[in-house]
Symmetry: C2
Subunit: 409 residues, 2 copies
Amino acid sequence: MNSEMINKNTPPLLGADMITLPQGFRAAGIAAGIKASGAKDLAMIVSDPPSTIAGVFTSNRVCAAPVKWCRAGLEGGKAQAVVTNSGNANACTGEQGMRDAAQMAQWTADQLEVPVDHVFVCSTGSIGFPLPMDKIESGIQQIVPELSPAGGKAAAEAIMTTDLHTKHWTVKVEIEGQPVVVSGIAKGAGMIEPNMATMLAFCMTDAEITQSALQAALHDAVNQSFNRITVDGDQSTNDTVLLLANGTAGPAHPLDESHPDWSAFVAALKEVTLQLALKIVDDGEGSNKRITVRVEGAASDADADRAARAIANSFLVKTSWAGAHAIWGRVMETMGYSGAEIDEDRVDIWYDQIHAVNDGISAGAERSEIEAVIAQPRFTLKVNLNIGSGSAVVYTCEITEEYVRINVE
Amino acid sequence: MNSEMINKNTPPLLGADMITLPQGFRAAGIAAGIKASGAKDLAMIVSDPPSTIAGVFTSNRVCAAPVKWCRAGLEGGKAQAVVTNSGNANACTGEQGMRDAAQMAQWTADQLEVPVDHVFVCSTGSIGFPLPMDKIESGIQQIVPELSPAGGKAAAEAIMTTDLHTKHWTVKVEIEGQPVVVSGIAKGAGMIEPNMATMLAFCMTDAEITQSALQAALHDAVNQSFNRITVDGDQSTNDTVLLLANGTAGPAHPLDESHPDWSAFVAALKEVTLQLALKIVDDGEGSNKRITVRVEGAASDADADRAARAIANSFLVKTSWAGAHAIWGRVMETMGYSGAEIDEDRVDIWYDQIHAVNDGISAGAERSEIEAVIAQPRFTLKVNLNIGSGSAVVYTCEITEEYVRINVE
């Protein structure tokens, strides 16, 4: 694999403030008047050749109308547009919400002159209010002329809710010796304002890929990225990840798992989704740290995951990180109720290189040594349960007073 | 049942600052130097006639040495003393912790001249540090002369950690026409300082009861009280509820489930445990509200419990209560990921008498009406899932900036 990360370490292709979209994609973002603030709130991504599409959605049993629309749209397997509004989640809006999502798709299809079942719809924002359809309609009319290969940044801005920063990542990879691009934009502020839907990510590639392979690759990539971040343990009604592959850059025969370059594509996709996911953690409201929680030696991977998530979601552990306190007892306690098999007399815990707990009791490290690790903006809390070979990693952040203030106010 | 609540609505038997212990019980609480603050930190409860004893303990797989000591002690079924220190949880202390718990029991047994297996030991406080055994030893020598029927209040003070208030409740009930007393003390600050163990409760009665009936009654009472409160979802290594019945007040034949007055005793015990549990919620750090979350119409009681706990533990719901925001969408979302069966188009939600959600969408109530309910110090959030007959209730509180500040600092 020749994976070249474009946006961060090398000069971006389209200027410092641009996002490199794969060939055949255009995007735009505008202010349509949905957000009271007047900020950008309508985004569109268009694939001029029909793309193969894959999608992964929230597992919440309460899910928004656009999620239902997109799930149904996956059956057709083709996409030419993704239209997204921020400021209103179109969730808990009943039959009216379903009609509004369909209407949003229809207006987009009409403007672009594409089949309505090639249009995917997303919404993010407040729950329980009907969409302002007049603003959606005029916004869709206004946004289509703005579509361009340089519009990725504007689209990334227009899907933001409480995000402080736009989130995008692009990787170049060679398939059959030809360069293809995998690119993505995302929104999600890690810790989420109440009533704001959580995360959206739209990934694009100009490679040609079969739908079943595309769906499998996206499923794996999401499990190792967006499903590895946890901020407050809540799951949104609107979480959506879409992946469009339009084949503009080849190869001649659609890529699938049997192709020798398949692993290169999968690695590129995983890099894009992981970097987007980490940007969501880093954008947490009131948060200044990223903590990697790594559990090893569990009875199973599922047990390791239970233990890691219990640690990462524990309000008391998270507040202790904000205060940089060396309270490893709370980590022990949290794993004890996680449901994971645990023999407390075998547990080892490290904060980066500092061995804090040995066989379930203090390993003798100085409090100050542990606290110096926790005071850093990034550190790894590693646990070895020493009872099996299961492992898991979760990325999370701390909880600060500022976060509560934002959420209370 | 003739249940007379003594401590709150009627004059207490032993003065305004006293706790009425059942006949045959004595208690004391002193400062033994375990807490750096110099506050009371050693408590003892003694039953002069050997009591029958029942116990319920934390389900955390990481549990403290004294919990292991008490679990083993239940097999003998008899108790004459409960000795408790605060300021140190004796948790995650390995073999040394087990030796220290046993030594604490032995010193108490020696001072009281009772069998060591009649002594129950509890600890609450910081995790991961060995007990200061010199202070425990001298404290046990000092506390025994202080034991008196009027010592309940001092004992309730000595088991406190971050609690702002002592917690006790007493109910009088007639068994075979004779008055018996059911009394309890508890500690637990609802929201818990990191590294501080959670809740302890010691209940006493002068009724004569078989051990199997006593254990069954305590199990039920705990499930309907301490297991119905949830503050931050974390479970402690040290949670312990003990119930001692010494038979001083009769009846001649030990009470069990077949006795016509059994239900009167059970009701009295449930009242004591529920009032103690509610006092723990009310003592939450930085908390000013008590919210009753009631879920009805679920597919099963277990499903109702899942939905109610998801709501009560959601960080985003709890912060919205602190701000008195009418964000019912977050309640819908939370139930959606709770694991409970839910058809969002059937859900109804009330804030006290205000109908906020009808069939999954806004019922048209004014935001200000809902916010007036949430602004109260106590309110009930009622959900009807309208798919079955399962129900559950959970008591919880809100999360404020002050709570985070206490936990961060």
